[in-house]
Amino acid sequence: MFRRLKLDTVKYTAIAQINLQNSLAYAGELAYHSIFMVVILYVFVQLWRATYRAVGAETIAGLTFRDTLWYLVMTETIILSKLRFANKMSEEVKDGSLAYTISRPYNYLLYHWAYGLGDTLLRLVINFWAGALLVTVLVGPMPFNPVYTLPLIVSLALALVLDFCIEGLIGLSAFVTEDVGSVQLIYSKFLFILGGMLIPLDFFPAGLRNVALALPFNYVIYAPARLFVSFDPARWLNVIAMQALWIGVFALALWALFRVGLRHVSINGG
């Protein structure tokens, strides 16, 4: 049992490590992403500065101008760094490389989690610091107490796992339909709006806010970003409990559908 755990840890760590090495070979692409992050945040700074001036208030729904911008640093960091599991599955079906990735002695889903994680960790660090640098200069220092770093990381990690499970469910349809572009697009728009990527859910009208808060998407983006700008232990406990609950639901669905999906795999090419 202990030996199995050790071997599996070594195996999945090696998978994460090799993708990290591979990502380092794409230094240019990573730099491009951080430039995109800086540009988009610069636009947000201008937009929200104008909005706060127009409203003429120090805070909107409890968030200051500085809080809002740092909230957006975190949401953009998550969205630009998260794993692209569904696309990866779809690519594997289309180019036939699924023949390799599905036939090796590991759990296919864990393989992809480890595979994506190596790249994601690097992107998280680069994107966050690129955005943080800009917002520090233009708006002010981060409103986050570093004492809460560890609990925040736990919530961020759970957010990534939850997103991975949802992406996995979308990706599974690639076993049958090959292309997942349309469903993937709908999911990303849900994250943009109902997940709170573009606007903090606090700014929504009460009805829409309650709907968004009841859906799982906010636990991928809004919940960890909101903790980042105003950490509260009671809120944190509530967030990670809800993240764990949604992960349970989606992971179970993913595992069950993956078993069924394996029977329907079709692979392109030769």
């Binding site: 195996k11 090696a14 599905i102 036939s103 090796r104 030769g270």
Partner: protein, 334 residues
């Protein structure tokens, strides 16, 4: 006792059919037309330990689908198969430790990293301890002569070099059976020979059972003792390669490029001239009645030759010959 047993194995796919143009696309969305394709139609065969089998056929014959069922990637629509005593699609992970596969058109090495990195990764995936991995890598490096390639990014390797590394990567965990799907596809003559030598060495040195698919009759001729030919999902030939050669690989095609212009046309006894130009000819002949050596010798004696290639007929032609042969001359199955 057979290492691979296949009984009445079948695979049916459903694919969408779409009429061309915008209307066709709209129709496909509203009312998709599904087409059932029988990729493998009840094939049966056995493979003994240590055999080197050529599993051949034209494009779309069902070769790769069969391999994917035998490696547990695809579930069959019917029939049974056992590889090393395991049912591939039920015991996929257990079987993965004992088999290897190389898909010639699909790279498994990490493109931007040197092969050594992929080898290290595979050592972890297949749970090799450090000493076993080092020993095994040392053997493969020497056997395949890839020492100089280990630390070069894969994108900088030639196709032949890459393929040697691809095969070596699939052998790290010392599989008992290896499935090679078109390992020589797209390679030039030298690289093809290198890969063939590698396969030969693997078979002779380690006694690995090899299941080889190829479009190239040369691969089969130089490597395998037994061949199974599959066409439209059915086995149409299962016998020794020597018999296949004797019956169907008799015709050779020779392309010659001359160093000097042909002044007085071209003729050679016992050969059919397919094409003739100012500086080259394309010939074909039956090697049973006109030996290859004799044709080459006569060409070299009579002309100043700049380049010459000898080719086998394409697989499609061999299959056509099998279908056209009298029934008693062909062993049919399925």
């Amino acid at each position: 006792m057979p290492i691979i047993t296949v009984r009445d194995l079948r695979k049916t796919f459903q694919t969408k059919r779409k009429q061309p143009g915008l209307m066709g696309s709209l129709k496909a969305v509203v009312k998709p037309e599904l087409l059932t394709v029988e990729a493998v139609k009840g094939i049966s065969f056995e493979l003994e330990p240590g055999e080197l089998l050529a599993f051949i056929g034209p494009n779309g014959a069902g070769k790769s689908t069969t391999i994917k069922m035998l490696t547990g990637i695809l579930y069959p629509s019917g029939g049974q198969a056992s590889v090393l005593g395991l049912t591939p699609w039920k015991d996929r992970r257990k079987l993965a430790y004992r088999i290897g596969s190389v898909f010639g058109q699909k790279p498994q090495l990490w493109y931007h990293l040197p092969p050594a990195d992929t080898f290290h990764l595979f050592a972890r995936i297949y749970e090799l301890d450090e000493a076993t991995f080092k020993q095994r890598l040392g053997f493969l490096v020497e056997a395949f002569d890839i020492g100089d390639l280990l630390n070069t990014p894969v994108r900088k390797l030639s196709l032949g070099q890459r393929m040697k590394c691809e095969i070596a990567a699939s052998l790290l965990h010392r599989p008992q059976v290896i499935f090679l799907d078109e390992p020589t596809i797209g390679l030039d003559v030298v690289a093809k020979q290198q890969v063939r030598d590698t396969i030969k060495l693997l078979h002779e040195h380690e006694g690995t059972t090899i299941f080889l698919t190829s479009h190239d009759a040369g691969d089969i001729e130089s490597l395998c003792k037994r061949a199974i030919i599959i066409n439209y999902g059915q086995v149409i030939y299962d016998d020794r390669v020597s018999a296949l050669k004797r019956r169907y690989l008799t015709r050779k095609v020779v392309s010659v490029r001359f160093a000097e212009r042909l002044e007085n046309g071209f003729a050679l006894e016992g050969v059919e001239v397919l094409k003739v130009g100012d500086y080259g000819v394309k010939l074909q002949f039956d090697a049973r009645t006109t030996p290859v050596e004799s044709v080459l010798q006569r060409l070299l004696d009579a002309h100043s030759v700049a380049d010459i290639t000898v080719n086998d007929p394409p697989m499609e032609e061999i299959i056509r010959s099998i279908y056209e042969a009298p029934p008693e001359d062909v062993e049919r199955e399925g």
